[in-house]
Symmetry: none
Subunit: 413 residues, 2 copies
């Protein structure tokens, strides 16, 4: 079953404000098995809003509007929905009396303008507002429903829980929803899609969504069925072959980011890690320490941006730098070994590269990165060539370094 | 003149993700005097998107779409706009070749699926993408224009600046718009607003917008008049008293971020800097090295997360750590002095603190941060108590460290 959401208010069309009510409403609707297929922000314009209400109700059986129920001329939602449905508004004495008493209880006089909030769309059910002065409305029309909710989030949430949910539960066919959320490291988006599309394209249920950031891809699968058992089995049918194709490139099956996954592996192994960063300038250390509790396994490390500092702090030999250059497999390994020796950590990771925007050289073009790992068993370094700008290449290198350590900790490299 | 914005992507219809590109686009359009009257999110559904494109182009002369230009089946924007306008798509050999070369330059093979990105709507102008693989498109139809931009924010912003703005400026009726963009360090948002609101609240033109992040506040003033002279004089009338109230807390008058301002001061002075980071774990180094060309003044430094590593790498004395603790003025100073001594930098900055989420202790509550600075004249350390979560406290501490160095470099501390 589909739903749409309209946020009403010109202030949400400015450059510094977003409609966040729709996030709450979407999460609640999804729990019922209802999918949000469209959402929009309309300014305080009665005709434009009425047109959108007609459009949305014409294609989706549930429409939720937030905002525009206040007492001023700018508050156009009641008028616009009535217009869209070709219905009249009537003055509700009960609401007017309730409003008057509410103001009296607060020892305030009600402004005449507040009476606007007592107008109800012909045939609508009134949704009580226990947190403010704007009642909501529930209007059914030709198998669809428009729900008018107040804009202030605490009023909207309270009204949704006590007044809307019970009504929606009666409306929506019972459905079971089961979802998977995996994260994958070490692949580009198009490579991953090419690999797994032949599996998931065969299904419209479960729905598959793929989101990509530098070196980090999220795969969401969501199955909707009549029973939980059916949903589970449908999900497994798609998830199993995807899992087989991706193998150990899946680093998280609960949504945890890579620094948390690696941190837990380190902690479980009673191991520690240190870093030696050139091109990323501290970004890898920053990632490790984003996770609360990282002091259990992260010791620290070195930011060695210049060649002289690589030699002085980490003991990278001038010969290595002269012969192979600062951006090389040999320097990456010397950096990791230096960090491990000086901190006494179980593992050490290093990153050296040319992030750009300078174009680099023939042997070291922009986007070249070497990622080093040292431990008691020895050292290794990976070479990667990244596309994209400076921040993208740096972010992807950090993600790769974390993944190299994950593989080492799980016995895969 | 009115505009509408459509964000394309099913992932932005989930309960945990908002379209933020529209904020950037709105701010840019507003600068041109263009008002955004409607915005929406449409999932990866070709027919629904085509219907919305027809609707929007029917009532507003500017329509901007973001997202859905990637290489996968899910990327429906090209198809949907072509369908809405009743036009065909043609395969552009030039784009295909450019894509191939882009992959070749990175020594990677282009996946077949990437060729989808070479399809262009009949009659469309191609908008170059210097940050990614999805070209944009500019399609005019019956006095209106549809602009197709890529979804990743850094690609969208770069393309908007270089490809869209010049075209939009020709389209939009001339208004004289003069703007100021200042950045302020070292103040909270409410303190700043309390200080300058009595000035700017008196004016609706220029429009004043205040945007706040941790330790970094942006002040935008925009005057719109018939002539440039009028706009200039109106702007000066408001800007002068605000500048007087804020004084040297304004660190940038051209929008440059603090690490760029400090980097230019260091470079101009022929000076270098190193860092010693505990609670921020590399975040300060990462900030310095975000600026291209930072190798001219940034040498590197130390991430010393544990006490033992503070002693071992930086030479912080065990007595200092035992007597005053790792989160103390004394340790901050010893860390900065150690980094300076070991790297030979002109200046050294240090950060040590308790970022949370652990509540901390009575003497060192969560959010306590010490920021140290060492140079040839001696050392100092500042104490700050930040509110907010772990990332907020860390970000504010980094901003404070950069500002301490700015003040030292400009003779203010």
């Amino acid at each position: 079953m589909n739903a749409e959401i309209i946020a009403v208010g010109s202030e949400m069309l400015a450059g510094d404000r977003l409609d966040t009510n729709s996030l709450y409403l979407t999460a609640e609707l999804n729990k019922l098995g209802v999918e949000v297929v469209f959402k929009c922000v309309v300014g305080d314009d009665r005709d434009r809003l009425a047109a959108q209400v007609r459009e949305s109700l014409g294609r989706s059986p549930i429409l939720i509007l937030s905002g525009g129920l206040g007492p001023t001329e700018d508050d156009v939602t009641r008028d616009a929905v009535a217009k869209a449905l070709g219905r009249t508004l009537h003055f509700d004495e009960g609401i007017a009396e309730w409003l008057k008493q509410r103001f009296a209880a607060a020892k305030r006089t009600m402004a005449e303008v507040n009476k606007r909030q007592a107008y109800v769309i012909e045939g609508a059910q009134i949704l009580a507002n226990h947190r403010g002065t704007a009642p909501g409305q529930w209007v059914e029309e030709a198998g669809a429903v428009a729900v008018l909710l107040p804009g202030p989030p605490h009023e909207l949430k309270a009204m949704f829980q006590s007044e809307c949910l019970p009504r929606l539960e009666k409306l929506v066919p019972k459905q079971a929803i089961r979802a998977l959320f995996w994260r994958v490291a070490g692949m580009g988006e198009s490579d991953l899609d090419q690999l797994i599309a032949p599996v998931y394209k065969k299904y419209t249920n479960p729905v598959t969504t793929i989101l990509a950031a530098a070196g980090d891809i999220q795969i969401h699968l969501r199955a909707r069925c009549a029973t939980e058992a059916e949903a589970d089995s449908l999900l497994a049918e798609v998830a199993a072959p995807i899992a087989e194709l991706l193998g150990d490139r899946i680093y998280s099956r609960n949504g945890d980011p890579l620094e948390v996954v690696v941190g837990e592996l380190l902690h479980a192994a009673g191991a520690t890690v240190s870093v030696a960063e050139s091109a990323t300038g501290g970004m890898l250390g920053e990632r490790f320490t984003t996770a609360p509790g990282s002091s259990r396994y992260f010791l620290g490390g070195f930011i060695t941006y210049s060649d002289a500092i690589k030699a002085k702090l980490l003991g990278v030999s001038p010969e290595t730098l002269a012969e192979h250059g600062a951006v090389s497999r040999e320097t990456a390994i010397a950096m990791a070994e230096g960090a491990r020796r000086l901190t006494g950590s179980t593992y050490a990771l290093s990153i050296t590269g040319a992030a750009g925007p300078e174009p680099g050289t023939d042997t070291v073009p922009k986007g070249t990165m070497y990622i080093g790992l040292a431990d008691a068993e020895g050292s290794l370094a990976l070479h990667r060539q990244f596309l994209g700008d400076r921040q993208y290449a740096r972010g992807f290198a950090v993600q790769t370094a974390l993944d190299v350590l994950r593989r080492r900790l799980t016995g895969r490299s």
